[in-house]
Symmetry: C2
Subunit: 319 residues, 2 copies
Amino acid sequence: MDWAIGVDIGGTKIEAALVDERGAVEGLYRQATQADLGPAVVLDRLQTSIRIVLDQAPGPVRAVGIGFAGQVDASSGVVYYAPNLPGWRDVPLKAKLESTLGLPVFVLNDVHAAAWAEWTYGAGQGWDDLVCVFIGTGVGGGVILGGRLQTGASGSLGEVGHMPIVADGRACRCGGRGCLEAYIGGWAIAEQVRQDIQAHWVEWGDVGPLEAFTAETLADLCQRGHSRAQAWSDRLGRYLGIGMVGVVNVLNPRGLILGGGVLQGFPEWLTVVAVTIQALALPSAARTVEVRRAGLGRHGGLIGAAAWARWQLQKEVTG
Amino acid sequence: MDWAIGVDIGGTKIEAALVDERGAVEGLYRQATQADLGPAVVLDRLQTSIRIVLDQAPGPVRAVGIGFAGQVDASSGVVYYAPNLPGWRDVPLKAKLESTLGLPVFVLNDVHAAAWAEWTYGAGQGWDDLVCVFIGTGVGGGVILGGRLQTGASGSLGEVGHMPIVADGRACRCGGRGCLEAYIGGWAIAEQVRQDIQAHWVEWGDVGPLEAFTAETLADLCQRGHSRAQAWSDRLGRYLGIGMVGVVNVLNPRGLILGGGVLQGFPEWLTVVAVTIQALALPSAARTVEVRRAGLGRHGGLIGAAAWARWQLQKEVTG
C-alpha cells in the first residue's frame, strides 16, 4: 500500500489527509486557513498541515496534491489568483512546496480536483466525457473531455455557475448579470427567498429571523411540506435544469454529475434536471447523457487532488 | 506539392475541392445534394463530386476529408444523424467511401471542420484553446481545447446556439426555449423583426414585402442609417454578447472566433461582443480571451475537412 497526500485549501479551512490508491481517506487534519494574514502565513500553515499528515503515514508517500480554491495553472503549479485568499497572485506553489517537502507536488483548482475525484473513484467512473457541477454557496464545475481534465487557457474552464441564463437578469456577485449562480447559488437562494418573505410574510408564516434564513432553512421547510417553500424549490430546480440544458448542449457529456451542499437539501432537483434535459436539450446530446448524484461528498476535493498527483506522477514516469 | 480533397456537404449542396497543405483551394466542384432522394443517391453524388475533383488533381492526392452537416462520430466516420438529410442514420460513410475510392477518408461535423480550418490556417492559428462560433441561419460552434478538436460523447459538442440565454424565452426551432439561436440565428432575426414591423409599420416605413424581409434586409437598412433597424442590431448584438459571456466563462478559450453569413452583415457585433465580455465575464477568463473575425469565409468547412484528413493521416503514420 502506498499513499498520496491530498489537500483541499479554501478561504476558511485547510484539510489534508492520506489517500490510498482506491481513494480511501486516512488521518484527516483540519485547521483554519487564516487567509487574512496573507500568503506567507497561509503557506506556512499549509506546510504544517502536510507535515502532520506525512508524519502519521504508515507507509511511503509518493506525492502531494493540492486542490486550491483559486485560478491555477495546473501544469506549472502556479496560483494566479484566489478570490478568497488575499494576496495570492502568481505564487509558484508547486515549486515552493517541493523545495521544502522534498516530495513531488501537483496543484490544481479545488473544483477541478473534485471533478477528477468523481471521474477516478466516484459517480463518473468509466465515462471519458464528464461534467461535474457543484452547487454550494457558489456554483462551480469541472470538465473532463476525452479522459482529460480540461483547464482552459487560464485555468478557469468550467465556470458553469457564471453562464447567463436570464439575459440582463439578477446581479451576480461576480459582477455579471443573470448568471446561473445568481439564482441557485446558496447566497442567491437566501437573497431571493428573504425578499419574498418580506413581501409575503403572511403566506410564509413563522420561519424564524429573516437574517438567519438560508438555503438550508428553505430545504427544511420543504421537507416539512411548506407549500410556498416547495414552490420556490420547484422554481429554483427549473433554473438549474435550464442551466444544465446549456451545459449539455455545449459540452455533450456522457455523464452529468451534480453535487454540493445546496443540492443535498433538494434531492428532487436531480430528477428535475434529468426531465428538463430530455424536454429541452438537443436530442443528439440528451440521448447520450446520464444525470447522477456526486458519489464522494465533502472530501471529494482532497481525494481528487491526491488522485491527480498520482496521475501526474505516472505521466511523468511513463512520458 | 501534394493534395487532400475537402468536401462540405449540407442539406442543399455538395462542394468538393483540392486543398494544398497551406489551405489554398483549387478546382472547386459544386452540385445540389438532392437530399430528398435519400442516402443512396446522396452517396452516389458525393462519390461523383470527389471523383471529378480527383481527376483534375495535378499531383498525388493523399486523403479525403468530409465535413458533414450532421452528428458524426469522427473516430469511426459514421454519420449518426443529419437533421437536413432525410434517411441518414448510422451510415458508415468513411468505410463506404474508402472501399470505392481506395483512398483514406475522414469524416467530421461540418462546423467542427470549419473550426479546425480556423485553427490550422485561419484566425485561430497558434491558440490551443479556441472556440469558433458561426452565425448563419442557425448558430453552431466548434471547440478546440489543448490543441485537440473536442467532439463530446456523441459528436455534438459545441452547440453554443442552443445554450439558453433567456430562461423560458422564445421557442427555438430545436424544440428548446430561449436558446441563443432563437434570438440571433438568421431565421430568428427575420421572425422577430417581421413581428416588430407588423406592430410598428409607421416607424419602419417602406421596407418592402414582409415575407421577403431577412437578416440581410436588416443589415442593409442598418447600413443606410435606418434608426429602428439599428436599434434591433444593437439589441441582437447584445444578446450575442451575453451568449459569448457564457461561452467564455464555461470554456475559458484563448481565442473566440466569430464568423458566418449573418455576422458579415453586422460587423459592429464583434466590438459589442468584446466589450460585453470585458464587462460581464469573469476577470480570470475575460483577461485571457481575444475576439476575432473568422479568417476563411465560406470555404472554411471544406478547407478544414481536408486539413483534418491530413492531420488524421499523420497521426496514423506517427502513431
